[in-house]
Protein backbone atom coordinates (compact mmCIF):
# COMPACT_ATOMS: atom_id res chain seq x y z
CA UNK A 1 0.00 0.00 0.00
CA UNK A 2 1.56 3.25 -1.05
CA UNK A 3 1.76 6.27 1.16
CA UNK A 4 -0.89 7.99 -0.91
CA UNK A 5 -3.41 5.24 -0.13
CA UNK A 6 -5.65 5.79 2.83
CA UNK A 7 -4.80 3.67 5.81
CA UNK A 8 -8.09 3.17 7.57
CA UNK A 9 -9.16 1.26 10.63
CA UNK A 10 -10.96 -1.40 8.59
CA UNK A 11 -7.86 -1.81 6.44
CA UNK A 12 -5.75 -2.44 9.52
CA UNK A 13 -8.34 -4.78 10.99
CA UNK A 14 -8.62 -6.85 7.83
CA UNK A 15 -4.85 -6.83 7.39
CA UNK A 16 -4.34 -8.09 10.92
CA UNK A 17 -6.97 -10.75 10.34
CA UNK A 18 -5.29 -11.90 7.13
CA UNK A 19 -1.91 -11.98 8.79
CA UNK A 20 -3.27 -13.97 11.70
CA UNK A 21 -4.78 -16.51 9.32
CA UNK A 22 -1.52 -16.66 7.40
CA UNK A 23 0.63 -17.50 10.38
CA UNK A 24 -1.94 -20.02 11.61
CA UNK A 25 -2.29 -21.50 8.11
CA UNK A 26 -6.01 -20.98 8.30
CA UNK A 27 -8.33 -20.60 5.38
CA UNK A 28 -10.07 -17.26 5.44
CA UNK A 29 -13.22 -16.31 3.58
CA UNK A 30 -15.38 -13.20 3.52
CA UNK A 31 -17.80 -14.15 6.26
CA UNK A 32 -14.95 -15.24 8.53
CA UNK A 33 -13.27 -11.88 8.04
CA UNK A 34 -16.53 -10.07 8.77
CA UNK A 35 -16.93 -12.04 11.99
CA UNK A 36 -13.32 -11.63 13.06
CA UNK A 37 -13.14 -7.91 12.40
CA UNK A 38 -16.74 -7.15 13.40
CA UNK A 39 -16.96 -4.99 10.29
CA UNK A 40 -19.86 -4.84 7.87
CA UNK A 41 -19.80 -6.73 4.61
CA UNK A 42 -19.44 -3.73 2.30
CA UNK A 43 -16.58 -2.42 4.44
CA UNK A 44 -14.73 -5.71 4.44
CA UNK A 45 -15.17 -6.26 0.73
CA UNK A 46 -14.10 -2.69 0.03
CA UNK A 47 -10.84 -3.45 1.82
CA UNK A 48 -10.48 -6.80 0.05
CA UNK A 49 -10.92 -5.01 -3.27
CA UNK A 50 -8.12 -2.62 -2.40
CA UNK A 51 -5.83 -5.39 -1.27
CA UNK A 52 -6.58 -7.43 -4.37
CA UNK A 53 -5.94 -4.44 -6.60
CA UNK A 54 -2.57 -4.06 -4.92
CA UNK A 55 -1.85 -7.73 -5.44
CA UNK A 56 -1.47 -8.15 -1.70
CA UNK A 57 -3.97 -10.96 -1.53
CA UNK A 58 -5.17 -13.58 -3.92
CA UNK A 59 -8.45 -15.42 -3.84
CA UNK A 60 -9.30 -19.00 -4.67
CA UNK A 61 -12.52 -20.95 -4.65
CA UNK A 62 -13.19 -23.76 -2.27
CA UNK A 63 -13.33 -27.27 -3.62
CA UNK A 64 -16.91 -28.36 -3.67
CA UNK A 65 -18.80 -31.48 -4.60
CA UNK A 66 -20.16 -31.18 -8.12
CA UNK A 67 -23.64 -31.97 -6.89
CA UNK A 68 -23.65 -29.29 -4.24
CA UNK A 69 -26.16 -26.51 -4.74
CA UNK A 70 -24.52 -24.20 -2.23
CA UNK A 71 -22.61 -21.21 -3.56
CA UNK A 72 -18.84 -21.64 -3.36
CA UNK A 73 -16.89 -19.78 -0.75
CA UNK A 74 -13.85 -17.81 -1.80
CA UNK A 75 -10.78 -17.95 0.37
CA UNK A 76 -8.06 -15.36 0.58
CA UNK A 77 -4.38 -15.70 1.25
CA UNK A 78 -1.55 -13.23 1.36
CA UNK A 79 0.88 -12.96 -1.50
CA UNK A 80 4.59 -12.61 -0.63
CA UNK A 81 4.31 -8.95 -1.56
CA UNK A 82 1.21 -8.62 0.60
CA UNK A 83 2.87 -10.31 3.55
CA UNK A 84 5.74 -7.85 3.42
CA UNK A 85 3.41 -4.91 2.90
CA UNK A 86 1.05 -5.84 5.69
CA UNK A 87 3.87 -6.45 8.12
CA UNK A 88 5.29 -3.05 7.30
CA UNK A 89 1.88 -1.44 7.54
CA UNK A 90 1.03 -2.98 10.89
CA UNK A 91 4.51 -2.30 12.26
CA UNK A 92 4.03 1.35 11.41
CA UNK A 93 0.37 1.89 12.25
CA UNK A 94 -0.60 -0.83 14.67
CA UNK A 95 2.55 -2.32 16.18
CA UNK A 96 0.64 -3.83 19.08
CA UNK A 97 -1.03 -6.16 16.61
CA UNK A 98 2.33 -7.70 15.76
CA UNK A 99 3.07 -8.34 19.41
CA UNK A 100 0.43 -11.05 19.60
CA UNK A 101 2.14 -14.38 20.19
CA UNK A 102 0.47 -15.88 17.14
CA UNK A 103 2.11 -13.37 14.84
CA UNK A 104 5.34 -15.18 14.24
CA UNK A 105 6.30 -14.13 10.78
CA UNK A 106 9.68 -15.21 9.43
CA UNK A 107 11.87 -12.38 8.28
CA UNK A 108 9.83 -9.67 9.93
CA UNK A 109 11.06 -9.33 13.49
CA UNK A 110 9.12 -6.87 15.56
CA UNK A 111 11.29 -4.12 17.03
CA UNK A 112 12.03 -4.90 20.62
CA UNK A 113 11.01 -8.52 20.22
CA UNK A 114 12.97 -11.66 19.73
CA UNK A 115 13.29 -13.02 16.23
CA UNK A 116 10.06 -14.59 15.15
CA UNK A 117 9.46 -17.82 13.31
CA UNK A 118 6.25 -19.44 12.08
CA UNK A 119 4.48 -21.69 14.51
CA UNK A 120 5.48 -25.28 14.01
CA UNK A 121 8.37 -24.29 11.81
CA UNK A 122 11.09 -24.41 14.37
Amino acid sequence: MTRSSRTTGPLLDVSACLLRAHVRSEKLHGWAIMKATKRSGPTVYGVLDRLEDRNWITGYWEDQDPGSSKPRRRFYRLTPEGLAGICDLLAERRPEALLEPTYRVPGFPVPGRRSVVPEGAG
Partner: protein, 255 residues
Protein backbone atom coordinates in the same frame (compact mmCIF):
# COMPACT_ATOMS: atom_id res chain seq x y z
CA UNK B 1 -61.99 -14.33 20.77
CA UNK B 2 -63.94 -13.53 17.67
CA UNK B 3 -63.77 -15.58 14.52
CA UNK B 4 -62.18 -12.66 12.63
CA UNK B 5 -59.44 -12.31 15.23
CA UNK B 6 -58.72 -16.00 14.96
CA UNK B 7 -58.53 -15.85 11.16
CA UNK B 8 -56.37 -12.76 11.33
CA UNK B 9 -54.00 -14.42 13.76
CA UNK B 10 -53.64 -17.54 11.63
CA UNK B 11 -53.13 -15.56 8.44
CA UNK B 12 -50.55 -13.33 10.08
CA UNK B 13 -48.62 -16.31 11.37
CA UNK B 14 -48.68 -17.92 7.95
CA UNK B 15 -47.53 -14.68 6.31
CA UNK B 16 -44.66 -14.26 8.75
CA UNK B 17 -43.66 -17.86 8.24
CA UNK B 18 -43.68 -17.47 4.48
CA UNK B 19 -41.68 -14.25 4.69
CA UNK B 20 -39.09 -15.90 6.88
CA UNK B 21 -38.76 -18.76 4.43
CA UNK B 22 -38.60 -16.35 1.54
CA UNK B 23 -36.00 -14.05 3.05
CA UNK B 24 -32.92 -16.29 2.47
CA UNK B 25 -33.81 -16.62 -1.20
CA UNK B 26 -34.41 -12.88 -1.46
CA UNK B 27 -31.18 -12.20 0.41
CA UNK B 28 -29.13 -14.21 -2.09
CA UNK B 29 -30.78 -12.41 -4.98
CA UNK B 30 -30.17 -9.01 -3.42
CA UNK B 31 -26.53 -9.88 -2.65
CA UNK B 32 -25.85 -10.99 -6.22
CA UNK B 33 -27.57 -7.91 -7.59
CA UNK B 34 -25.47 -5.76 -5.25
CA UNK B 35 -22.24 -7.23 -6.55
CA UNK B 36 -23.22 -6.64 -10.15
CA UNK B 37 -24.23 -3.09 -9.32
CA UNK B 38 -21.11 -2.32 -7.33
CA UNK B 39 -18.43 -3.54 -9.70
CA UNK B 40 -17.90 -2.13 -13.15
CA UNK B 41 -15.54 -4.99 -13.93
CA UNK B 42 -17.86 -7.79 -15.02
CA UNK B 43 -15.43 -10.57 -14.07
CA UNK B 44 -15.05 -9.24 -10.57
CA UNK B 45 -18.80 -8.65 -10.36
CA UNK B 46 -19.55 -12.28 -11.15
CA UNK B 47 -16.90 -13.49 -8.71
CA UNK B 48 -18.25 -11.30 -5.95
CA UNK B 49 -21.84 -12.24 -6.76
CA UNK B 50 -21.18 -15.90 -6.03
CA UNK B 51 -18.97 -14.99 -3.11
CA UNK B 52 -21.59 -12.78 -1.50
CA UNK B 53 -24.19 -15.50 -2.02
CA UNK B 54 -21.88 -17.77 -0.05
CA UNK B 55 -21.57 -15.13 2.67
CA UNK B 56 -25.34 -14.90 2.88
CA UNK B 57 -25.48 -18.67 3.04
CA UNK B 58 -23.06 -18.67 5.97
CA UNK B 59 -24.88 -15.95 7.83
CA UNK B 60 -27.08 -17.49 10.51
CA UNK B 61 -30.69 -16.39 10.86
CA UNK B 62 -33.17 -15.98 8.05
CA UNK B 63 -33.93 -12.33 8.62
CA UNK B 64 -30.28 -11.57 9.37
CA UNK B 65 -29.43 -12.90 5.94
CA UNK B 66 -31.77 -10.37 4.41
CA UNK B 67 -30.42 -7.56 6.57
CA UNK B 68 -26.86 -8.42 5.55
CA UNK B 69 -27.87 -8.50 1.91
CA UNK B 70 -29.53 -5.11 2.26
CA UNK B 71 -26.29 -3.78 3.74
CA UNK B 72 -24.47 -5.00 0.65
CA UNK B 73 -27.14 -3.37 -1.49
CA UNK B 74 -26.77 -0.07 0.36
CA UNK B 75 -23.02 -0.10 -0.11
CA UNK B 76 -23.38 -0.98 -3.76
CA UNK B 77 -25.85 1.79 -4.39
CA UNK B 78 -23.50 4.28 -2.74
CA UNK B 79 -20.59 3.13 -4.88
CA UNK B 80 -22.73 3.16 -8.00
CA UNK B 81 -23.87 6.73 -7.32
CA UNK B 82 -20.29 7.90 -6.78
CA UNK B 83 -19.13 6.12 -9.93
CA UNK B 84 -21.99 7.58 -11.96
CA UNK B 85 -21.22 11.05 -10.66
CA UNK B 86 -17.53 10.72 -11.53
CA UNK B 87 -18.43 9.35 -14.95
CA UNK B 88 -20.76 12.29 -15.52
CA UNK B 89 -18.05 14.74 -14.50
CA UNK B 90 -15.51 13.03 -16.71
CA UNK B 91 -17.89 12.98 -19.64
CA UNK B 92 -18.69 16.60 -19.20
CA UNK B 93 -15.09 17.58 -18.81
CA UNK B 94 -13.59 15.53 -21.59
CA UNK B 95 -16.31 15.17 -24.16
CA UNK B 96 -18.29 18.35 -23.72
CA UNK B 97 -16.03 21.04 -22.43
CA UNK B 98 -12.64 19.40 -23.04
CA UNK B 99 -10.96 21.54 -20.46
CA UNK B 100 -9.38 18.87 -18.31
CA UNK B 101 -5.95 17.47 -18.77
CA UNK B 102 -3.17 19.22 -16.89
CA UNK B 103 -1.57 16.06 -15.52
CA UNK B 104 -1.17 12.70 -17.21
CA UNK B 105 -3.52 10.07 -15.94
CA UNK B 106 -1.89 7.93 -13.32
CA UNK B 107 0.06 10.73 -11.74
CA UNK B 108 -2.89 12.19 -9.93
CA UNK B 109 -5.09 10.70 -7.31
CA UNK B 110 -8.80 10.48 -7.76
CA UNK B 111 -9.31 13.32 -5.31
CA UNK B 112 -6.99 15.58 -7.26
CA UNK B 113 -8.75 14.67 -10.47
CA UNK B 114 -12.10 15.55 -8.98
CA UNK B 115 -10.72 18.80 -7.59
CA UNK B 116 -9.29 19.79 -10.97
CA UNK B 117 -12.53 18.80 -12.66
CA UNK B 118 -14.52 20.87 -10.22
CA UNK B 119 -12.27 23.88 -10.70
CA UNK B 120 -12.39 23.74 -14.48
CA UNK B 121 -16.10 23.04 -14.40
CA UNK B 122 -16.60 26.09 -12.24
CA UNK B 123 -14.56 28.14 -14.69
CA UNK B 124 -16.50 26.86 -17.66
CA UNK B 125 -19.75 27.36 -15.82
CA UNK B 126 -18.81 30.93 -14.96
CA UNK B 127 -17.92 31.62 -18.59
CA UNK B 128 -21.10 30.09 -19.86
CA UNK B 129 -23.15 31.86 -17.24
CA UNK B 130 -21.65 35.11 -18.39
CA UNK B 131 -23.18 34.43 -21.74
CA UNK B 132 -26.82 35.35 -22.23
CA UNK B 133 -29.12 32.38 -22.22
CA UNK B 134 -30.31 32.18 -25.76
CA UNK B 135 -28.14 33.67 -28.42
CA UNK B 136 -25.31 34.97 -26.35
CA UNK B 137 -23.89 37.31 -28.84
CA UNK B 138 -24.52 39.87 -31.38
CA UNK B 139 -25.49 39.27 -34.94
CA UNK B 140 -23.11 42.00 -35.99
CA UNK B 141 -20.15 41.18 -38.17
CA UNK B 142 -17.71 42.91 -35.82
CA UNK B 143 -17.67 42.62 -32.06
CA UNK B 144 -15.28 42.30 -29.16
CA UNK B 145 -14.71 39.65 -26.52
CA UNK B 146 -13.11 40.68 -23.26
CA UNK B 147 -10.96 37.91 -21.85
CA UNK B 148 -10.49 37.47 -18.12
CA UNK B 149 -8.03 35.36 -16.20
CA UNK B 150 -9.21 32.17 -14.60
CA UNK B 151 -8.84 31.92 -10.80
CA UNK B 152 -5.26 32.40 -9.76
CA UNK B 153 -4.22 34.17 -12.95
CA UNK B 154 -3.58 37.81 -13.73
CA UNK B 155 -3.49 37.90 -17.53
CA UNK B 156 -5.96 39.92 -19.55
CA UNK B 157 -6.93 39.98 -23.17
CA UNK B 158 -9.34 41.22 -25.77
CA UNK B 159 -10.40 39.79 -29.09
CA UNK B 160 -11.81 41.93 -31.86
CA UNK B 161 -13.71 39.66 -34.21
CA UNK B 162 -14.53 40.73 -37.73
CA UNK B 163 -16.33 38.83 -40.45
CA UNK B 164 -14.52 38.91 -43.77
CA UNK B 165 -15.00 37.24 -47.11
CA UNK B 166 -12.50 34.57 -46.07
CA UNK B 167 -13.99 33.79 -42.70
CA UNK B 168 -13.70 35.35 -39.27
CA UNK B 169 -10.70 37.51 -38.57
CA UNK B 170 -9.70 37.66 -34.91
CA UNK B 171 -7.37 40.35 -33.64
CA UNK B 172 -6.27 39.03 -30.29
CA UNK B 173 -4.42 41.20 -27.81
CA UNK B 174 -3.09 39.61 -24.63
CA UNK B 175 -1.20 40.95 -21.63
CA UNK B 176 0.46 39.22 -18.74
CA UNK B 177 0.85 35.80 -20.30
CA UNK B 178 3.90 33.77 -19.38
CA UNK B 179 6.33 32.57 -21.99
CA UNK B 180 5.90 28.82 -22.30
CA UNK B 181 9.35 28.12 -23.62
CA UNK B 182 10.42 26.81 -27.01
CA UNK B 183 7.92 23.93 -27.13
CA UNK B 184 4.92 25.49 -25.44
CA UNK B 185 2.23 27.58 -27.05
CA UNK B 186 -1.19 29.03 -26.42
CA UNK B 187 -4.33 28.06 -28.25
CA UNK B 188 -7.46 30.14 -28.61
CA UNK B 189 -10.75 28.43 -29.18
CA UNK B 190 -14.49 28.80 -28.94
CA UNK B 191 -16.79 27.01 -26.56
CA UNK B 192 -20.24 26.42 -27.95
CA UNK B 193 -23.25 27.24 -25.74
CA UNK B 194 -23.79 24.43 -23.31
CA UNK B 195 -20.10 23.64 -23.36
CA UNK B 196 -20.70 20.99 -25.98
CA UNK B 197 -17.54 21.46 -27.98
CA UNK B 198 -14.37 23.46 -28.28
CA UNK B 199 -13.29 24.72 -31.68
CA UNK B 200 -9.72 25.76 -32.15
CA UNK B 201 -9.20 29.15 -33.74
CA UNK B 202 -5.42 29.18 -33.79
CA UNK B 203 -2.25 28.97 -31.79
CA UNK B 204 0.35 31.54 -30.75
CA UNK B 205 3.30 32.16 -28.50
CA UNK B 206 4.33 35.15 -26.45
CA UNK B 207 7.73 36.56 -25.66
CA UNK B 208 9.16 37.51 -22.31
CA UNK B 209 7.04 40.66 -22.20
CA UNK B 210 3.90 38.53 -22.08
CA UNK B 211 2.05 41.01 -24.26
CA UNK B 212 1.34 40.41 -27.92
CA UNK B 213 -1.20 41.18 -30.60
CA UNK B 214 -2.06 38.67 -33.29
CA UNK B 215 -4.43 38.47 -36.19
CA UNK B 216 -5.72 35.08 -37.25
CA UNK B 217 -8.46 33.90 -39.54
CA UNK B 218 -10.80 31.05 -38.75
CA UNK B 219 -13.70 29.53 -40.61
CA UNK B 220 -15.46 28.85 -37.33
CA UNK B 221 -18.28 31.26 -36.58
CA UNK B 222 -17.56 32.67 -33.14
CA UNK B 223 -20.99 34.20 -32.68
CA UNK B 224 -22.82 32.58 -29.84
CA UNK B 225 -19.62 31.12 -28.41
CA UNK B 226 -17.38 31.87 -25.48
CA UNK B 227 -13.68 32.19 -26.12
CA UNK B 228 -10.91 30.59 -24.11
CA UNK B 229 -7.14 30.72 -24.23
CA UNK B 230 -5.42 27.58 -23.04
CA UNK B 231 -1.77 26.80 -22.56
CA UNK B 232 -0.31 23.76 -24.27
CA UNK B 233 2.96 22.35 -23.06
CA UNK B 234 5.10 19.48 -24.24
CA UNK B 235 3.46 16.24 -23.25
CA UNK B 236 -0.07 17.58 -23.55
CA UNK B 237 -0.48 15.93 -26.92
CA UNK B 238 -4.06 15.02 -27.59
CA UNK B 239 -5.35 16.84 -24.56
CA UNK B 240 -6.31 20.37 -23.81
CA UNK B 241 -4.20 22.24 -21.34
CA UNK B 242 -4.92 24.68 -18.61
CA UNK B 243 -7.43 27.43 -19.25
CA UNK B 244 -5.68 30.78 -18.84
CA UNK B 245 -8.20 33.29 -20.19
CA UNK B 246 -11.88 33.05 -20.92
CA UNK B 247 -14.61 35.40 -21.98
CA UNK B 248 -17.81 35.78 -23.92
CA UNK B 249 -19.11 38.38 -26.35
CA UNK B 250 -20.83 41.06 -24.35
CA UNK B 251 -24.16 42.37 -25.47
CA UNK B 252 -23.70 45.70 -27.06
CA UNK B 253 -20.10 44.99 -27.96
CA UNK B 254 -20.82 45.23 -31.64
CA UNK B 255 -18.60 47.82 -33.22
Amino acid sequence: VSLWSLIWGVCSALAVNECCDLSPWAARKVACWSARLRYADSDRAETRAEELAAVIDERPGKLFKLITALCFAGGAIRVWIVRAAIRAWAARMTADVSLVSITPVGQVTLRKTIAVSALTAATAFAVLQAMPADTPTTSADTFTISLHATPGGSATGEAVVHHTANGWSVQLTVHGLKSLGPDGFYEDGYIRPGGQSVISAGTFTVGESGSETFISTSAADPRGSAMQIISERPGDAGQHGEVILAGAPALGSAI
